[in-house]
């Protein structure tokens, strides 16, 4: 009986997201059969060195699938599935992985747990997963009852551990002709280059209505530059157009899990907290000592952000200069 783990992910010009390395580490930690990595598109095979470094026993590259199609990819994976020798499938819980995993779940008749924080194999081979529900206001322990168990993994929660192997590249060709794909990606619009993606950022500097005006976000850009951080925001400032919509963090925006989250001039409404509860450290700067953000913060400064933030930036620059 198949007992391996299939790790399915997207790649771009041979680059893979950090979450893929986290997935490979989790896949190994389950202590099941071989870990097989499957990825798609031009330059898919260029991911091999990284897969070798993080412990993929086997790899499959479908380079002929240059344009993403949820129906095409899920049909092809389902047709080849017996050859992957797996009864657990892992996806990244990003837009790509959520789109494909949910569809594949129905095609394979396999239960799926979305956005898992933690996976653990039981003696029976069942995998127990912990996932947030109600936007992280509660956690759920779930198990999948179907023979094939599927999980998508939230980025930035699990460690990525180096484990050198020499992956065997399997010669399994996809059996679905791209000409039959129905929904097809025809164009990709990149955001500004050089910005760090919020859901993968290690440090985030986020501003709220306390910033008072769009031009004041320069203060946060400077702090973020000193820290090597990404910039985010509460919802109202994105709604006002002070910052792009992609900055919006919270229950109806992005869910982030950085090591450090700086909440600057953000009150800490429950919908905002829902997006940041996975942060290891929350640091708040707010001039209202009663602001709810201080109830969830690890560190806080009660003060005027316009006085505090520039000094923080200087202190961090000074620290980095010493290092």
């Amino acid at each position: 009986m198949a007992n391996g783990v299939l790790v399915i992910f997207d790649q771009n010009a041979g680059d893979i997201r950090h979450v893929v390395l986290e997935m490979l580490t989790v896949a190994r930690s389950l202590g099941k059969g071989p870990v097989t990595a499957l990825t798609f598109g031009t330059d898919a095979a260029k991911t091999l060195p990284k897969l070798a470094e993080y412990g993929a026993d086997r790899a499959v590259f479908w380079e002929s699938y240059t344009q993403y199609s949820s129906d095409g990819f899920s049909a092809a994976i389902a047709q080849s599935f017996p050859q992957f020798d797996a009864d657990v499938i892992l996806f990244p819980a990003n837009a790509w992985g959520k789109d494909l995993s949910a569809r594949l779940s129905e095609v394979l008749g396999a239960g799926l747990a979305t956005d898992c924080l933690h996976l653990e194999a039981e003696a029976s081979g069942r995998v127990k997963a912990i996932r947030p529900v109600y936007a992280g206001k509660a956690l759920a322990e779930v198990v999948i009852n179907t023979p094939v168990q599927m999980f998508s993994l939230r980025p930035n929660i699990n460690a990525a551990e180096v484990h050198h192997v020499n992956p065997e590249v399997l010669d399994i060709a996809p059996s679905v002709d791209p000409a039959t794909f129905q929904a097809v990606v025809v164009e990709r619009k990149e955001a500004q280059t050089g910005t760090i993606e919020l859901t993968e950022a290690d440090i985030i500097v986020s501003g709220g209505r306390g910033m008072k005006a769009p031009e004041n976000f320069q203060l946060l850009d400077a702090l973020a530059a000193a820290l090597g951080a990404a910039v985010g925001s509460s919802r109202p400032v994105a709604d006002e157009g002070w910052v792009p919509h992609s900055y919006h963090i919270g229950q109806t925006g992005k869910v982030v899990s950085p090591t450090v989250y700086f909440a600057i001039g953000i009150s800490g409404a429950i919908q905002h907290l829902a997006g940041i509860s996975g942060s290891k450290y929350i640091v708040a700067v707010n001039n209202d000592p009663e602001a709810p953000i201080f109830k969830v913060a690890n560190y806080g400064i009660v003060g005027d952000l316009f006085e505090v933030v520039p000094r923080l930036t200087e202190e961090i620059k000074a620290l980095k200069a010493q290092q």
């Binding site: 509660a138 759920a140 322990e141 000094r311 620290l319």
Partner: protein, 255 residues
């Protein structure tokens, strides 16, 4: 165009969640129930398509008797009629998708629009599962949608992390709505009155004879770990800034 929109009733996003002592659910007393925020974008988009191309908008909901309120609100926004699949038990995404897909098949449609995710189970599964179950193409997390009736094709922009992509597909299809797709309208008083008289068909979940075994079982719900007592600094901005950086460097060891 006949458009089906799935609407889930969920706790208001401002609700504090209280887990039952047995871990098998949440206390429902005092919860304010609302239309899932992403489903409001789905309803709005369906109404706009109908206004442009003509046709019908039918709301599909699944849940206990209280979901009627969310359904009436959807009808007050302008949907024409509704089908409610009634069940008192809690339902996992696969069962919801299979039940809703069965109703879609009964109804017939040109387009199905769901929310990108329900803000209670946060699964983001039901839309794609309906699509796969009915053999339809899908496009998820959509922030812009164009319908070409002549070629029966859709052109959609979907949001990715730090980027977006354009997807083209034929319809009938399933689209899942993301914030940014549109600005949902508020029901007007005359429409709230009209909504009371609109047709709501009820179907029991049992009558759909779906497989009994759920695909996913929630063993228990539990509280997220509480955060340790915070260290709050106040006083001179230069001093507090210096002290904060020292703490982050020496104590938390994250800088």
């Amino acid at each position: 165009m006949k458009i089906l929109v799935t609407v889930k009733q969920v706790p208001d996003t401002a609700t504090k969640i209280q887990i039952r002592a047995d871990g098998q659910g949440i206390h429902e007393e005092g919860i304010k129930w609302v239309i899932n925020p992403y489903d409001e974008f789905a309803i709005e988009e369906a109404l706009r398509i109908k206004e442009k191309h003509g046709g019908e908008v039918v709301v599909l909901a699944l849940g206990p008797s209280r979901v009627e309120e969310a359904v009436r609100q959807s009808l007050a926004m302008g949907a024409d009629r509704a089908v409610i699949v009634t069940t008192e038990g809690s339902v996992e995404p696969a069962t919801a998708a299979h039940a809703l897909a069965a109703i879609c098949q009964q109804e017939g449609f040109d387009l199905i629009i769901t929310g990108k995710q329900a803000v209670d189970d946060d699964s983001a599964q039901v839309g794609p599962m309906i699509a796969a179950g009915l053999g339809l193409p899908q496009v998820t997390v959509v922030i812009h949608l164009e319908v070409d009736e002549a070629s029966k094709r859709l052109r959609a922009e979907r949001e990715l992390e730090g980027a977006s992509e354009i997807v083209e597909l034929p319809y009938p299809a399933v689209v899942t709505a993301q914030r940014g797709l549109n600005e949902p309208r508020y029901p007007t008083l005359p429409n709230i009155m009209k909504a009371k008289k609109k047709e709501v068909r009820r179907v029991t979940l049992e009558s759909l004879s779906l497989p009994a075994q759920p695909w996913v079982t929630v063993n228990r719900l539990f509280e997220p770990p509480t955060r340790p007592e915070p260290t709050i600094l106040s006083g001179d901005p230069a001093e507090t800034a210096k002290e904060l950086v020292r703490l982050l460097h020496n104590q938390a060891k994250v800088l």
